[in-house]
Symmetry: C2
DNA sequence: GTTTTCTACAACCATTTGGTTGTATGTTAG
DNA sequence: CTAACATACAACCAAATGGTTGTAGAAAAC
């Protein structure tokens, strides 16, 4: 394991599920660049305010964004730690794959003992 | 952009959607470790063969796995390139965030011109 | 105070998802 | 050839998803 990740299956489900929508990914990029109120976010899309509100709620349940009250508006900001964890998970998969590749290499090295090279 | 990624929104949707299920993530880890036939995979889960077949189909549409015929069985192997791309996307988000952090730093540096340190 | 703005939330709807069973087809074993 | 095995695929179902409209409350503006 590259990094201790302590995420439950459900949490990982929610993270990837939340990322599996273009609008939500766009919201994430926007709030990573600069935190914004929900209505400011809603202004960027052609869907209803309530729809955007729901998208933000999905991202919030996945801990990809957090809301903070500021006066009458609720300002959304990105949660880079969760993104880092998700990236870490994917990197773990790569490591598994490399581990297998390594094992195959080792196996081949065993089959062709040192000093026996050259024979097919 | 860290790496040229040339994925459409729909493709990214499918990748994250496919990863948003514990069974499917488990299938990915298994076939990354060692390629397996669909029925061999199905043996590991308490759901029906058809259900596992559907999960594999979802992973295949996302290009996370590929099937190869071998006799009467269809052997599934993991597609590490797609995983790498997904990881790259998440790393891009981190970069956006770091970019903003950098911009804030620069802004602060402007507000407190050189030689004026020590105040606040 | 009244009005406007921003948010929350419920109810509803169409579509997708994740599962089932059943049937058909191709491939290997005897 | 026949039987067993591995896969494909359709039909069906309950639950979740992504959208809508409408109503209500809280905070700010006037």
């Amino acid at each position: 394991m590259v990094v201790e990740n302590e995420l439950t299956d459900d949490e990982v489900d929610r993270i990837f599920q939340a990322l599996a929508d273009t609008t939500r990914r766009d919201i994430v990029t926007r709030v990573l660049r600069q935190e914004q109120s929900v209505s400011a976010l809603a202004g960027h899309y052609r869907m209803s305010f309530a729809a955007v509100q729901k998208h933000v709620a999905v991202l919030e349940r996945a801990a990809l964004v957090t809301k903070r009250r500021r006066g009458r508006e609720q300002v959304v900001h990105g949660n880079v730690a969760t993104l880092r964890r998700a990236a870490g998970l994917l990197e773990d998969y790569e490591q598994i794959w490399r581990g297998r590749a390594r094992a195959i290499e080792d196996l081949l090295a065993e089959e062709v003992p040192p000093g026996d090279r050259g024979a097919q």
